[in-house]
């Protein structure tokens, strides 16, 4: 049975991140992404999902199967109302750490997807959109 389009999942615990991985894998298979592309998208989703839980104070992710006429793809939008990221450019650079010292991994996640957009306002929250196309 195909996934609902779109679906919104909570991101409040590390178990939610595991559920997100499964949902993304399921959709990737439906859309017939190659195995490597599936793995890249699931991994990027895991990274960003973890950020939402650990640094964003919890939030949600919207998963959608999309089509731009010729190609099918999967789009994810991560949203939280956490502290926000003061310097996005800095956060996108590899090896940048914040707070806990383990880094947001944004630069790495960006390399795994075709589309990557991020908006963040200190004191308001963060929104990250990623997409992977066939």
């Amino acid at each position: 049975m195909p996934s609902a389009n779109p679906e919104v999942l909570p991101l409040r615990s590390s178990e939610d991140v595991v559920a997100l991985r499964h949902a993304v894998r399921r959709r990737s298979i439906e859309v017939k992404l190659s195995l490597v592309d599936q793995t890249k998208l699931v991994t990027a989703a895991s990274e960003l999902g973890r950020n939402t839980v650990d640094y964003g104070g919890g939030g949600t992710v919207q998963i959608e199967t999309v089509s731009n006429g010729a190609r099918m793809g999967i789009r994810l939008i991560f949203e939280d109302h956490g502290p926000g990221i003061p310097d996005i450019e800095l956060a996108l650079r590899d090896g940048y750490t914040t707070g806990g010292g383990l880094g947001l991994g944004l630069g790495g996640a960006r390399r795994l997807v075709n589309e990557f957009h991020i908006e963040s306002t200190v004191g308001v929250g963060t929104r990250v959109l990623i997409a992977r196309w066939r």
Partner: protein, 131 residues
């Protein structure tokens, strides 16, 4: 919370990760392995990740952490069975795992552990006595 089982095979510990781990489970595994290395006086740890369809930066760091900690405790760790799609993704993601020993499968991994353990003994100049 369930824990990932650790089996003892002589002086080697075997860990086969078959489930999709959430972060807490991964951290628990790191604790369990290091505790067992001390408790069982293990000289080697073999971690089989051939069932894992995904390894992200957290799990990658956990594996690297196990390698470093066991080395500090006098044991070597070999990670076996990483899938091609996972390896390609880790390289693209940029997780630093250059320092870990790896092998294609359990057989080659155990052989590598034997060699590493023997080399460790040679470095001491004499065999360690299990007292």
């Amino acid at each position: 919370m369930e824990r990932i089982p650790i089996l003892k095979l002589g002086d080697v510990l075997l860990v086969s990760i078959q489930v999709d781990m959430h972060d807490r489970l991964a951290m628990a595994l790191q604790d369990d392995v290091t505790n067992r290395v001390v408790k069982d006086r293990a000289k080697g740890v073999l971690i089989d990740i051939s069932s894992l369809e995904m390894v992200d930066s957290f799990i990658g760091r956990m594996l690297g952490g196990i390698a470093k900690m066991t080395r500090a405790l006098g044991a070597e760790t070999v990670v076996v069975g990483m899938r091609p799609a996972v390896a390609i993704t880790i390289v693209e993601l940029g997780v630093a795992l250059e320092h870990i020993h790896t092998a294609l499968n359990v057989d080659q991994g155990l052989k590598q552990l034997r060699d590493l353990i023997a080399a460790g003994r040679d470095d001491d100049g004499h065999a360690q006595r299990q007292s």
